[in-house]
Symmetry: C2
Subunit: 330 residues, 2 copies
């Protein structure tokens, strides 16, 4: 593999001039630049970016910490991150933490060893990751919760949940069950808050028997719905805190012979692409997943490049999308 020295030799110039011709062409004669370009082509030169990065102490790459890339929502956020990184000349390291602190810590080594310039964290902030909170490297949260410190990007989870439950209440529902994520999960906590606020506002007494905790998977949504439908005086609506669990719930309800939404309303959260195409299509909260990733990436790269330190919590707009799966209570 030819190096800058080969180019310099081929062009009869010094490596300094070659470097300048390539990186800061305005510092070099038109003629020189042409000679360098010819030499580059002649020896098939590709700069060794490891060397450049070492010299400049920059890697021009960012690390995305994602709890699971197979989750469509996170995949969308990641796509948004990638598109901005690409535009700004950065590469993306994929750090799939599989929800493990260990893996997360291990991946953070990429920054500490200079292979990445900063981190975008997609896991919500549980509040006890002291290491990360004290991080000396640039870090931005892309799917924040109310606990998440700046700089971060999120939606108003509690507000969105409240809107959804308001929607169900407006449709006449009173017995509205919740299929939550893991009890300690900050997103679940925020959304649960919105759920209860909506119930309170409508004068509906909160009934713990109508709450089940899943793990965001369709299987857990199926299981939760099966249980909830067996409760005496069963709910007429299921508020699921993500789309996957809602899809699982639809399946469970249908298997029990219930018709959605006629016999049971079911709603989701996230608006992954499958929500619009499930049968029935799913009423949900649209999160601007790509936009959140993109915004987080912009903030991160601005920080890395020292272009103003954005230290705000960006709350992006969500949207209630009413589709077939929610309907009037019977």
């Amino acid at each position: 593999m030819s190096s800058i020295i080969d180019v310099a030799n081929a062009a009869g110039l010094s490596t300094a001039t070659v470097s300048r011709a390539l990186r800061t062409p305005e510092k070099v004669t038109e003629a020189t630049r042409a000679r360098v370009m010819a030499a580059v082509a002649a020896v098939d030169y590709r700069p060794n970016l490891l060397a450049r990065n070492l010299r400049s102490d920059r890697s021009f790459s960012v690390l995305v910490l994602v709890p699971g890339i197979a989750n469509p929502f996170f995949a969308n956020v990641t796509a948004g991150i990638e598109s901005i990184a690409w535009r700004r000349g950065y590469s993306v390291f994929l750090g799939d933490t599989r929800d493990s602190r260990d893996r997360e810590a291990h991946y953070e080594q990429l920054v500490e060893t200079r292979l990445a310039d900063g981190v975008i964290q997609l896991s919500p902030d549980y509040g006890f990751n002291a290491r990360q909170r004290a991080a000396t490297y640039p870090i931005v949260h892309a799917c924040g919760c109310e606990l998440t410190q700046a700089p971060s990007v999120r939606i108003d989870n509690a507000g969105a949940a409240r809107e959804m439950v308001d929607h169900l209440i407006a449709a006449g529902h009173r017995r509205i069950a919740a299929i939550s994520g893991p009890a300690a999960n900050p997103h679940a906590v925020d959304r649960m808050k919105g759920y209860r606020t909506a119930l309170d506002a409508a004068g509906v007494v909160f009934d713990p028997a109508l709450v089940r905790f899943g793990d965001w998977t369709m299987g857990s949504g199926h299981a939760a719905a099966s249980e909830l439908l067996a409760v005496p005086h069963r709910p007429t609506a299921l508020f699921s805190m993500n789309d996957e669990m809602a899809i699982g719930a639809i399946q469970a309800a249908t298997a029990k012979g219930l018709r959605v939404p006629h016999d049971l309303a079911i709603t989701g959260f996230d608006d992954i692409s499958f929500a619009a195409h499930s049968t029935p299509s799913l009423t949900t909260i649209a999160q601007p997943a790509e936009a959140m990733g993109a915004k987080a990436c912009e903030i991160l790269i601005d920080r890395i490049e020292g272009k103003g330190a954005d230290d705000t919590v960006h709350v992006l707009p969500h949207e209630l999308i009413v589709r077939q799966s929610s309907g009037p209570a019977v």
Copy 2:
């Protein structure tokens, strides 16, 4: 940020000894190692991997070229890649090509500029990517088609498609429509081959009017199904070449008042997680997505590390998963 020199000073040793203590401890006294470790802790040392990588001309990272990370199937393959890369101490660069040759070529620069040691290609091989076929760097295809050269990993797409259509024929269907991917897509080509083989074997005359070309999205599956259901003497079964389009087709059929599978059988391909939880659940071909990614990654890293050059085409087993969406013809 402290460097190896700081450690050497703190320990009263040379940088060479420090390096040895850390990388090849057996070359150093027990006592020395302890002194080095203490110094490392004292100055909070983290090796600069950019420097190490420059010296060794290795980056210990691989580039994954994926047509779209938001596609659940590719996300699963990527998850498989990541798990092996992790186990073997490599990082993963995410190269989302968005089906653009341009982006693909741009991402390949990562290898040519030494930021990645090799490439895993998830796009099927159209046969005209001369650049990549002549690549001087290690490259492995993870979702190959019949055209794909070794080393690569794939399933028997034609065989799987044939099995699926055989299954429909066995259930009594004769008018079996196909919802294909883009006409030129190698996976679509292979699967179309299997479709026709099955029809021929059953003595069913191929009817071009029963073929539609989608773009793998649910929307395109919906559109294709709508058209196919308007054909005179409409088909009793739809063979969709991926799960997303099948899910779109289910939605279209249901919207038309048809019951799946009672009035119309619909089958998919891939067995993404949503296939098991759609309503009705989807008969499909299970591809070992994670295993394909993992295998490809193993092969790639073996190549990178010079541990035998596996030059075979690995055909992993698929499986016909019969669920609710396929049923007897009416």
